[in-house]
Subunit: 439 residues, 2 copies
Amino acid sequence: MSFRAAVLSIGDELTLGQISERNAGWIAQEFLRRGILVMEHRTVSDDRVAISSAISQLATEVAIIVITGGLGPTDDDLTREALADALGGVALVEDADARESLRKRFEARGRQMPSMNAKQALCPVGAKCIANSNGTAPGLSARIGQAIVFCLPGPPNEMQPMVRDAILPVVDSMVALAGGVSASVCAIHSCGLPESVAAERIRPMMDRSANPLAGTTASGAIVTARIRAFGSTARDASLERAAQEVEKAWAPYVFGRDETTLAQALGEILLRTKDQVAVAESCTGGGIGSFLTSAAGSSSWFGGGWITYSNEMKSRLLGVPPELFELHGAVSESVACAMAIGAAQRANVRFAVSVTGIAGPSGGTESKPVGTVWIAVADRSEKKPSQSVNARCFLFTGDRATIRDRTVRVAVQLVRLAALGKSDVPVLWEVPKNPERTK
Amino acid sequence: MSFRAAVLSIGDELTLGQISERNAGWIAQEFLRRGILVMEHRTVSDDRVAISSAISQLATEVAIIVITGGLGPTDDDLTREALADALGGVALVEDADARESLRKRFEARGRQMPSMNAKQALCPVGAKCIANSNGTAPGLSARIGQAIVFCLPGPPNEMQPMVRDAILPVVDSMVALAGGVSASVCAIHSCGLPESVAAERIRPMMDRSANPLAGTTASGAIVTARIRAFGSTARDASLERAAQEVEKAWAPYVFGRDETTLAQALGEILLRTKDQVAVAESCTGGGIGSFLTSAAGSSSWFGGGWITYSNEMKSRLLGVPPELFELHGAVSESVACAMAIGAAQRANVRFAVSVTGIAGPSGGTESKPVGTVWIAVADRSEKKPSQSVNARCFLFTGDRATIRDRTVRVAVQLVRLAALGKSDVPVLWEVPKNPERTK
């Protein structure tokens, strides 16, 4: 069997969209690793009735409810009261230990406890306090029907240690009592395949009755298969087989599993071959470099780069012949190639990737609309008689941020494919080249 | 009166915490500007029964339900079916216009429509399709009891234009019919002040009974005041007065309102003074350039840059004297200053900002722990007899991504303060300099 859980987040600033809810996803991932499936996230405003009715409703649907937020000292912190309501209208009474630890906390900072904070030591009859070593708000736990309810403060630096110290041990023992882990998951990431093509290739695994069951999601330029295996028998083996099946169906576009980024995937290849990559960026303005160096340890394989927005900088820093701008324009195959070659030579590394394009919102023309981006990869392999450079033209859709983000991912994937000797595979968003070069 | 709304997001990848839900907050903010209060966000998995029962339940609680996700072509996209269930078990029938626009979309890309995508033209009887110009999934709208339900695709670049084009006009006319806007909001953004200091300075406006009412949120390196004014009488005037009060209390750290980014704010100043800024980045790897060029039109004031990870590149490309690495290390005041001066001269622009630091997770030492970052701003103002350069040392907390993100924002704020002649104000996370230079 598998336990089902829900996360309930409290706060006007969340429902009104003034800040993003980040706790539910974190809690869901911690639970998932233990075989607990979070079925629902719900966020309600600082409203006592809304909170208590959400608790009552979720208690009929899931075995575990984790609530974050609304435990502060101010008038709009109402989780304690709402929990008391959901427990059948019980009273709130002061918890002596919680009161004492609040007092000590303020004393340690040389401050007297404001009277407002006394409220934080209140606990509904039948509930228990959970210690909080990083803030003033203690947590609460209670049983409602078959469900166990945990209330935690909203700030992640207080909430996360409390989940680790007080909730996961309880969850682990529930799972152990029920006979072990009941679900496990794996994500396989790809870049360059259209989602529909990717899904078509693994269709039998996406049938809702399949086990392991796969689903696809597209986020930016990345298409991911998320595989879940249920039941304990041979779970890990069947998950691994399914994962390998997806990897085979999607090769060579697949770059990694789970937390792996495209930057890390490229880095691992370059580390192995002891090669480096440099960048020459126009419309991405440093985004490729920033993405590559988001990988820890990237200094071993990242060869630096140039952000050349103007034609003058492209020529002076990277050696792009000025006449190319006249002949073909800055957004062209020949300029992209010259930028990549110039960067690879000047950084003295094997690979360089260059981009020159029109990210918008303005600057587009009929023949080069917004979203037109040339990406070139130079490869100074010692195995080849001379350096090679290969430019491809893309037409990315979306707004400025989307176009730039897709350009960054595709550029890194093109370097990865070049490093694997797979530069010839088609890549999503590529458009046929205009015959440009005068031979 | 005020309308209440809810946002329902669909997807296993969301409930399991594999990707973050970002649509609900964006929709809530668009609605709030129009006086519609989003009371609840709910996220459920790709489960037909869970989706349809969430729709039915929310339809009894709010006037407007916006659903995102689950409209893709694959078997686990079930929002259409669930909406049909919630409409009382109606049939799904093909919408001829939707089918035709799908066909054309594929044709325009020279591809034949995969049979899987035909499903996307299906519409529950009694519902209507909403055109999607940025993707294959049309949206849907329907009435359930007193509530109006909109179903939209999950990718923000498809969802957001559909909200603007198809939903907000409907919402606006509902509000107009009901007698006008009931709440209005304004956000004031700052960088460099600690949140506690910022909050203390506007304390009276943060009292829960105040109108306009202000709240503060900290996200990354940005502290924001969010002000809400209720009731229609003199609403805009009182909101504007409150906004100006915050701007005065937080000057010169305030850089803009609402959608304005720090990059845009700097860009506006530089456009006015006809100056440019270049970047020389080590630990941020291109992140400052990428952030600056996220602003449309940045080619007017962004002077390009260098991503120099290695000491050798710092010397060869930017002219940093090699002996400085021996004397002070790469993460030092003198290297930061030399990088900034080198970049400003080589880009031939007035301002350059450089960063050199330790983003972690490894590489820290006792005297230079992870998070230590030197940021230097060079200013080649013609008004001054010679160029000036000013380096400051920061100790940022958090993981690699957080340290890099904070570095980027603070670096841009330092250029902005320099451009305003306010380089002398204290900035959050700054640490006292070590006496380093041998005079």
